[in-house]
Amino acid sequence: MSEPQVILGTNRTGVQTSPEGTARQLEATRMFPADVPGDMSVYTAERERAIREADLIGSVPPPATTKGMVKTALDKTIGKAPEVLIDKLGERLAFERTGVRLYEAMVAKATSAPGADPALVETLRSIQADELEHMNIVREAIETLGGDPTAMTPCADVAGVKAMGVLQVLTDPRTTVSQSMSAILTIELEDNAAWELLIELAQKGGHPLIAKRFKHALEQEETHLATVRQFIRTDLLEQVS
């Protein structure tokens, strides 16, 4: 490591840096107690009311008719409730597409941040290429099913919301390689579980060829996860040894 990734400094957020102020805050809570009866359950009840009354985020666009679908010998059916599969495929497409951009941010970090490791960059570029390949595999699967790969499905939209925190961590110039790889880990963990599920969905839906291609992606994702985990472990152990 050329420079430390974690430093001792003037962090002012805790009670130990303002013991007198905190003591007086606690004194205030005794002088001026809570004025509304109840507890967190009041908040939860309001959430439940809103959930019951809420609309959905949106819908899945209807697939083209079976007539227009490109089918293979083994993928002759559009399955039951095809919109479920289309929605999850849309999610995977969005996730992998964002993943390519997340790895681009990670490459910049690995090149320049505290904890920079040139050897890591090559690995990250390789994973990034895989993510792009996966994006295209999913795009082709959606097209095969007569779906529109340019549409944002509800699950795709939610995936974008989920990725916002990771994006913030990776693109903040102040975060370290270690912090950023930890954010990448959450992505890779989800990616693995999601591909497993998608394979099962594709098989149940009567799309064995699509499922077969997805298995290839899952194998690559398993390697990504192992690589990211190993890097984080080695990096942290090096910092304390």
Partner: protein
């Protein structure tokens, strides 16, 4: 600095020398963890001041063709001052954490102003509004804990208490009870005019901030709480805005605003601990002196009057950026049950029907501030921390 005359002696940086680069505008942010909470307080306050500087000048332009060019020239610099200040807030502040910081600004700065204000009625108005922003902080702190699982004191750093003030559910008043008596421009102290411009600007930005970020929340309770408190902030803008004398000309208000900007930046420069920010505040004091002097020249040209008619008089000490806990507690104990009736402050039981009816209607399907804070008691490390009170 004791007299504005001293400031007028200093011409500051000429407008044509006030320049920026994009890199300066979007420079390195402060540290949420390591910088002092009052550094963030100053950043938020001055963003609000510059925001209001733009606002005032845009309105002036709509009424004065002859001033449109110089106003546009000064606004361009102020836009860039505002950007370089607001972009100091780092991205690891969640919108709700920034909200907690906004309320800390409202409490600590309004409390400092209330104590510095020589006009008793105006000071009373600051104390009245203070107890409402104080309550907003408590409700938002409860939400930060219960929504994000975070301790508001990570932002406040022990300077500001987290307890109920005048309940937010009772802030909602009919417009006639939000208007206040104004100072009289020929009799008011300069600092009175400066305070009114400053606090109006600060509240305006708080209102605008809540209106922008409220819809970014997914949580229905959070969306509702921002809707409720943004409505009160609009009342506060009404209240503080009406403290100013409507008989002032636009140019008089402009001079007061520029003097306020000089005074406030100078207060920041005097007390800033972060050397990078201190240098920026000092630079902007000089920029504002340039704006003030240009405004004075235009005042002489178009109103054919001496700017000293507006700006003369001593200024008290700088705004004190420090914990105002004792003053706030004393105010809370004495004045929490005050209410507004027209321009007057009255005991709770003398509130008038229009506000009571208005409030009853708005609160008739529940009160977001009550939902979020039911039974909430602040503890270090959040209410989930069982040993919090021993700390």
């Amino acid at each position: 600095m004791t007299k504005i005359d001293n400031l007028l002696d200093n011409k500051g940086t000429p407008l044509d020398k006030q320049s920026f680069t994009w890199r300066e505008l979007a420079g390195k942010p402060i540290s949420k963890l390591d910088d002092d909470a009052f550094t963030r307080v100053r950043v938020i306050l001055m963003n609000g001041v510059e925001s209001d500087a733009l606002r005032l000048k845009h309105f002036g332009s709509r009424f004065h063709k002859e001033l449109q060019l110089p106003l546009a020239q000064i606004r361009r610099v102020e836009q860039h001052q505002m950007t370089s200040i607001n972009w100091l807030l780092s991205a690891d502040h969640s919108p709700l954490e920034t909200t907690v910081a906004y309320e800390q600004v409202a409490i600590e700065v309004t409390a400092a102003v209330a104590q510095n204000e020589p006009d008793p009625y105006q000071a009373q108005t600051y104390r009245f509004g203070l107890l409402e922003d104080f309550d907003h902080l408590y409700r938002y702190a409860a939400m930060l804990d219960r929504l994000e699982g975070k301790d508001a004191n990570n932002i406040l750093q022990g300077y500001t208490d987290l307890v109920p003030g005048r309940p937010t559910s009772e802030h909602h008043r009919a417009p006639g009870d939000d208007l206040r008596d104004n100072y009289e421009k020929d009799n008011a102290a300069l600092i009175t005019k400066i305070h009114a411009a400053l606090i109006t600007g600060a509240e305006y930005q708080t209102h605008d901030y809540y209106m922008n970020i409220g819809p970014l929340f997914a949580d229905p309770v959070a969306r509702a709480l921002y809707a409720e408190i943004a409505s009160v902030e609009e009342q506060h803008v009404t209240q503080y805005g009406s403290l100013q004398d409507p008989a002032e000309t636009f140019m008089e208000k402009w001079l007061v605003h520029e003097a306020m900007e000089v005074y406030t930046y100078a207060s920041c420069a005097e007390q800033e601990e972060n050397p990078r920010l201190k240098a920026m505040w000092e630079r902007f004091v000089d920029y504002e002196l340039g704006h003030l002097n240009l405004a004075c020249e235009l005042f002489k040209k178009y109103e054919r009057r001496d700017p000293a008619e507006v700006l003369a008089g001593p200024l008290p000490r700088m705004i004190e950026f420090k914990s105002q806990r004792d003053f706030v507690r004393e105010t809370l104990s004495r004045e929490v049950d005050l209410r507004a009736h027209g321009i007057d402050y009255v005991p709770k039981e003398k509130e008038a029907r229009p506000s009571l009816d208005y409030r009853a209607q708005l609160n008739s399907e529940g009160v977001p501030a009550n939902v979020v804070s039911a039974g909430y008691t602040f503890k270090p490390g959040t209410e989930l921390n069982e040993v919090g009170e021993q700390q």
